[in-house]
C-alpha cells in the first residue's frame, strides 16, 4: 500500500514539476510580449515589414500557432492524473494547480487561447495585406504590348 502511495506521489510530483516548467516558460514569453507591446506602442503599434518578408513572417506565425497548440495538448494531459490523496490539503492543491494551469481566467490555458486568437488574426491580416500589395504591384506592371 505504501508503495502504491509513494508511486502515485511520484507521478503527482512529476506532473506538478511539468506544470511549473510550462508556466515559467509561458510567463517568460508573456514578459517578452509585454516588452514588445511597450516598444511598439511608442511606434503606433505597427511593425514595418518588407513585402518580401511577409511570407516568412506568416510561416513563422503558423509555427508559433503549432507551439501554442502543443503546449495546450501537454497542459491538458496533466489533468489526467488525480490527486495523490483524498485529504483536503491534496484536493486543495489540485484545485490551485488546476486553476493556474487550466482555469478559465488568468491561467495558462487562458493565455494560450489568447495567443491563438491573436496569432490567427495576425496571419489573416498579413495575408490580406500581402494579397492587396500583390494586386497593386500587378496593376503597376505595364502590359507586355508596351515592353521594349
Amino acid at each position: 500500500m505504501a508503495g502504491i502511495i509513494h508511486g502515485v506521489e511520484g507521478i503527482w510530483d512529476a506532473a506538478v514539476s511539468a506544470v511549473t516548467r510550462v508556466v515559467e516558460r509561458v510567463q517568460y514569453r508573456a514578459n517578452q510580449q509585454q516588452q514588445v507591446a511597450e516598444y511598439t506602442q511608442a511606434s503606433g503599434e505597427r511593425f514595418r515589414i518588407e513585402p518580401a518578408d511577409v511570407p516568412q513572417v506568416i510561416a513563422d506565425l503558423r509555427s508559433a500557432l503549432d507551439k501554442v497548440r502543443d503546449i495546450r495538448t501537454q497542459a491538458q494531459a496533466i489533468a489526467f492524473t488525480p490527486a495523490p490523496g483524498s485529504d483536503e490539503v491534496s484536493r486543495n492543491a489540485v484545485r490551485q494547480i488546476g486553476q493556474m494551469a487550466m482555469g478559465s481566467e488568468g491561467s495558462l490555458k487562458a493565455a494560450l487561447d489568447a495567443y491563438e486568437i491573436e496569432i490567427v488574426k495576425t496571419i489573416n491580416k498579413l495575408e490580406a495585406d500581402l494579397r492587396a500589395y500583390l494586386r497593386t504591384e500587378e496593376l503597376n506592371v505595364p502590359p507586355a504590348s508596351v515592353w521594349p
Binding site: I49, D70, Q99, E118, V141
Partner: protein, 206 residues
C-alpha cells in the same frame, strides 16, 4: 526603353501579440466539476461492465500500444488521407503516465491533432474527473471514451479512449475556423476518424 517597376514598401500593420499578465494572479476558487456546457458529440455510454477502476467501463477487444511510438501510430498514407501536412509532424513530451506524444497540422493551419498513449486506464481519468469542467463519457467505435476538457471550448475536442484496462489513448483536435478556406467539420467528428485509424493500427493485447 528600360522597364521600371515601381517598388514600394508597404507598411503592414501587425497586431501586437500582447498578453500582459497572462499567467499571473490566479484567483482562488474551486473548479466546477459539472459546468453548464453542452454534451460533446457521440452516443452516450450505455450500461457496460466496469473495469473495477472507478466508474470506468471495461474495455473489450483490448489493444496494445506499449510497443508503438505515437508518431508511428498513423501511416504515411493515413496522414495523406487526413490531408495533414506531412512536414508538420512534431514529437511532444507529455507528462507521465503518457509516453512521447505526436502532433500534426493541416497545410492551412486551420486544424491540428495531437495524441499520445498512457500506461494507465480510464480508471485514472475517472478518479481525476474533478479536474475537468467538461467530462462526458461516450462510446467511440465500441470503446469506452470520455470527452474531457478542464475549460470547455466547443471548437476543440479532447478525448480519452480506453485501449485496455491499463492503457489509454489521448487525442485532441483543435480547430481554428478563421484560418480555413472552407467550413471545418466538428472537431470531435474528425477526432473519431483519427482515433479509429490509430486504434486500427495497434496490435491486440496479448
Amino acid at each position: 526603353m528600360a522597364l521600371s517597376v515601381i517598388r514600394r514598401t508597404t507598411l503592414v500593420g501587425v497586431t501586437v501579440l500582447a498578453l500582459a499578465s497572462a499567467c499571473t494572479g490566479t484567483e482562488p476558487g474551486s473548479p466546477s466539476p459539472t459546468g453548464d456546457v453542452p454534451p460533446a458529440s457521440g452516443a452516450p455510454t450505455s450500461a457496460v461492465p466496469t473495469s473495477g477502476a472507478g466508474d470506468a467501463p471495461a474495455v473489450s477487444d483490448p489493444r496494445d500500444a506499449s510497443a508503438t511510438t505515437a508518431c508511428e501510430a498513423l501511416t504515411a498514407a493515413q496522414v495523406g488521407e487526413l490531408a495533414l501536412n506531412a512536414g508538420s509532424r512534431r514529437e511532444l513530451t507529455l507528462p507521465r503516465p503518457f509516453a512521447q506524444g505526436c502532433a500534426w497540422t493541416s497545410p492551412d493551419s486551420a486544424w491540428s491533432v495531437g495524441f499520445g498513449f498512457a500506461s494507465e486506464g480510464l480508471g485514472t481519468l475517472y478518479r481525476a474527473r474533478d479536474n475537468f469542467q467538461h467530462f462526458e463519457p461516450r462510446d467511440l467505435d465500441g470503446r469506452p471514451a470520455v470527452d474531457a476538457q478542464t475549460v470547455y471550448n466547443a471548437e476543440d475536442c479532447y478525448t480519452y479512449v480506453g485501449l485496455a484496462d491499463d492503457q489509454t489513448l489521448y487525442v485532441n483536435v483543435d480547430n481554428s475556423p478563421a484560418l480555413a478556406d472552407t467550413p471545418l467539420p466538428p472537431a470531435c467528428e474528425r477526432l473519431d476518424t483519427i482515433a479509429k485509424m490509430i486504434i486500427g493500427n495497434l496490435p491486440p493485447l496479448k
